[in-house]
């Protein structure tokens, strides 16, 4: 079957790039038109993505690869650029463009009145372009370029309100912490370049090399783990998760974009894309699964003690990404499908939650959940859609989060019981903090005098669309209808409903919600039941296990000390040398100008001495040889 649309897939990232260029060039003159340019460009990309996706849904279309653009020629090795369309990245294209489109529409309301709104849309367009480029990259090097571009964009957007010192610090932190991971990925790419046959870096060669078992086992594990280090940085896995909650300092639509579709999804996508390497190394898979599971429960517990509405959601993202990594780490095709599926559903309900949170913040101008409350009556659409998102995140039947979480948990149950129980406990915490969040914000009496009102249409419309998707997206891949798995992986996996898992996960979710209801609505269980008995535990959670402080003491301080030392070295040794040179030149000049005193006799003396030195230097050796 001819791939009619896939061969034009390279156009998809170009529209946001075009929008970025237009907005950068003439953004100042555009005032209100900037948002429309950005929205229209992403919409075109979205339509194209849908066409590509539709085509691939239609039948077993061959993967379309075009990798012929010569970029660099190094001796015999040619580095190429190109693009590739597979089922996986067709799905990713749709997710990215859809979420980006909705975020764009939402931002036109949320950012309305901001002076630099066109700069904002320019950045969003660049962000979308980078992520789309990352998704359709045909080889690892190209992917890495877009990977870094995504990092730069998140830096720009998190620090968009650069006049706030916290935003500046958060942007720096996001950039530096992800950079640590990027170094790992970069080394992995170097190793691949070194050891791959023909120095090939495209994904099909990697697939052939690693699934054929040509590569030595130790090297495979090393490369896989280094790639995973890159993914840890981007996807905010423990121990590099610290930047993700701080990135909340950016505008809320950006948080939605980063957390749902672009930045953090890049890490999961990377692992899924290079899954052949991981599949060849059980040790690396174990690391991925363990880190994922640990991050899932670790971030979920922190989430229960945060008071900032966006930070709760941020830790929830970290936790859900942990789920995805755990699923990928289980290593079977079905588990990988489940991980990608969770990415898919998570993109919708997490974008929904963030945009809903943005709507709330827009209304009450605070992010502290204890100052909210009683908003349900005044912001009906926001409350309903946020509730749907929260239920989906908690994994309650029959919302999308349930199906994807269930898919992960049942795979974990089948292959690794320990991971299953960890996942289940994390699910409990997830349900608990989501209900806490929901009830504190929307239920009860208003705790602040601010007059809250529903957000404008441009903000609620994306919420509704996302809410519908959050409900419906789950039916793409159920135990009774596993076509997504077949489509994504290419072969049928014996997928059958695991009633134990379904019942348990629902039960746990309802338990968490019920507990939240008792604590924060009925107040039959006092909210400080734990914090009064074990204040250290509460503080530990509130301070996020002191990870930031630990990094501050163990890494940042010594490095700062080293920096000061180097500064001293610079000031006294390097600058000293420079100053010495300059003083020498000045002194020489001064001596020279003193010599130029206008008196012929001095010049004559200089000439005489010069002559003597010249003769001694040139002819002296000859005289000595004669002697």
């Amino acid at each position: 079957m001819v791939s009619a649309y896939s061969q034009y897939a390279w156009l998809i990232p170009l529209f946001p790039l075009l929008s970025f260029l237009i907005l950068t060039a003439v953004g100042r003159q555009l005032r209100d038109a900037g948002a429309y340019i950005s929205i229209v460009s992403v919409f075109v990309s979205f339509v194209l993505s849908l066409l590509v996706f539709w085509e691939r849904l239609g039948g077993q279309v061959e993967d379309y690869t075009w990798n012929n653009l010569q970029w660099l020629r190094l001796g015999d090795v040619t580095l190429t650029m190109g693009f590739e369309v597979t089922n996986l990245n067709a799905l990713m294209l749709v997710i990215v463009t859809l979420v980006s489109l909705l975020v764009n529409i939402y931002s036109s309301g949320y950012m309305h009145g901001d002076e630099r709104i066109n700069v904002f849309f320019a950045y969003i367009s660049l962000f979308t372009f980078s992520m789309l480029g990352l998704v359709i990259s045909a080889n690892l090097l190209e992917l890495y370029i877009f990977w870094e571009l995504v990092g730069v964009c998140s830096f720009l957007l998190v620090g968009f309100w650069y006049f706030k010192p916290e935003a500046r610090a958060a942007a720096r932190k996001a950039f530096i912490v992800t950079r640590i991971g990027d170094v790992g990925l970069f080394i992995a790419i170097l190793l691949l370049f070194w050891f791959m046959p023909n120095h090939a870096l495209d994904f099909s060669s990697i697939h052939n090399a690693f699934s054929g078992g040509e590569m030595p086992a130790g090297l495979t594990t090393l490369i896989a783990i280094l790639i995973f280090v890159g993914a840890i940085g981007k996807s905010g896995q423990f121990p590099l998760h610290t930047w993700l909650p701080d990135a909340m300092e950016g505008p809320t639509p950006i948080s939605a974009l980063i957390h749902a579709a672009t930045m953090v999804a890049a890490g999961v996508y990377l692992v899924a894309r290079t899954f052949d390497i991981f599949a060849a190394s059980p040790a690396a898979l174990g690391v991925v699964a363990f880190i994922g599971a640990f991050t899932a429960i670790f971030a979920a517990t922190i989430g229960t003690a945060q008071n900032d509405i966006k930070r709760v959601l941020a830790y929830s993202t970290v936790s859900q990404l942990g789920y995805m990594m755990m699923a990928l780490g289980i290593g079977t095709a079905a588990a990988m499908t489940a991980g990608i599926f969770h990415l898919f559903t998570h993109a919708f309900f997490k974008a929904l939650l963030f945009l809903g949170a943005g709507s709330v913040i827009h209304a009450v101008h605070t992010q502290n959940i204890h100052e909210m409350g009683g908003l349900g009556g005044r912001m009906k659409i926001t409350a309903w859609t946020f509730g749907i998102g929260a239920l989906a995140l908690s994994g309650i039947f029959p919302l999308s989060g349930f199906w994807s979480k269930d898919a992960i948990l049942s795979e974990a149950y089948r292959h690794n019981q320990a991971l299953f129980w960890i996942g289940l406990i994390a699910a409990f915490f997830t349900a608990f903090y989501m209900s806490r969040l929901f009830f504190l914000v929307f239920a009860g009496k208003p705790r602040s005098s601010a007059e809250a009102h529903e957000s404008p249409m441009s903000m609620t419309l994306p919420l509704i669309v996302l809410a519908v998707l959050a409900v419906a997206a789950g039916f793409a891949f159920t135990p009774f209808n596993p076509w997504l798995g077949e489509w994504l992986v290419g072969h049928t996996e014996g997928e059958h409903a695991n009633w134990l898992v379904i019942v348990l996960s629902n039960l746990v979710g309802l338990l968490g919600i019920g507990l939240g209801y008792l604590v924060y609505v009925k107040r039959t269980v006092p909210a400080d039941a734990i914090s009064s008995r074990a204040p250290w535990l509460y503080r530990l959670l509130e301070r996020k296990f002191y990870i930031d402080e630990l990094y501050q003491t163990v890494i940042v301080r010594p490095l700062q000390g080293l920096g000061h030392l180097l500064t001293l070295f610079d000031v006294y040794v390097v600058d000293g040398a420079v100053r010495l040179a300059s003083y020498a030149a000045t002194g020489l000049g001064r001596a020279g100008s003193r010599l130029q005193n206008g008196q012929v006799q001095t010049y004559g003396l200089a000439t005489l001495l010069g002559l003597v030195i010249l003769v001694l230097a040139l002819a002296g050796r000859r005289f000595i040889n004669f002697g």
């Binding site: 206008g598 008196q599 012929v600 006799q601 005489l608």
Partner: protein, 103 residues
């Protein structure tokens, strides 16, 4: 390894160096001119000595020294004239004060 010309050449070198010292150290411009004359004379002595005792003896050395003497005489005439003109405009013949090149 010294020929018959060696004493003359050594004498010329001594005179040349004394002349050089005088030319570069004396304050009075007339004496500076005189020291230059001494240096020229040392060179003349060399020329005449080589014309008799050199590798290729001949009259050319003497004739050359005659030319040198002529040029030296012209130089003295012009030099003294300049000196007088300078003295008339600046009121001094002190070499140390002749530093208008610097200004």
């Amino acid at each position: 390894m010294s020929g018959l010309a060696t004493p003359y050449l050594t004498l010329a070198a001594i005179l040349f160096c004394i002349g050089l010292y005088g030319a570069l150290s004396k304050k009075n411009a007339v004496i500076v001119l005189l020291s230059v004359e001494l240096m020229l004379n040392a060179v003349n002595l060399n020329l005449v000595a080589f014309s008799k005792l050199g590798v290729h003896p001949g009259l050319t050395g003497q004739i050359f020294s005659l030319f040198t003497i002529t040029v030296a005489a012209a130089e003295v005439a012009v030099g003294i004239a300049i000196l007088i003109a300078y003295y008339r405009s600046r009121g001094t013949t002190n070499v140390n004060e002749m530093d208008s090149m610097k200004r």
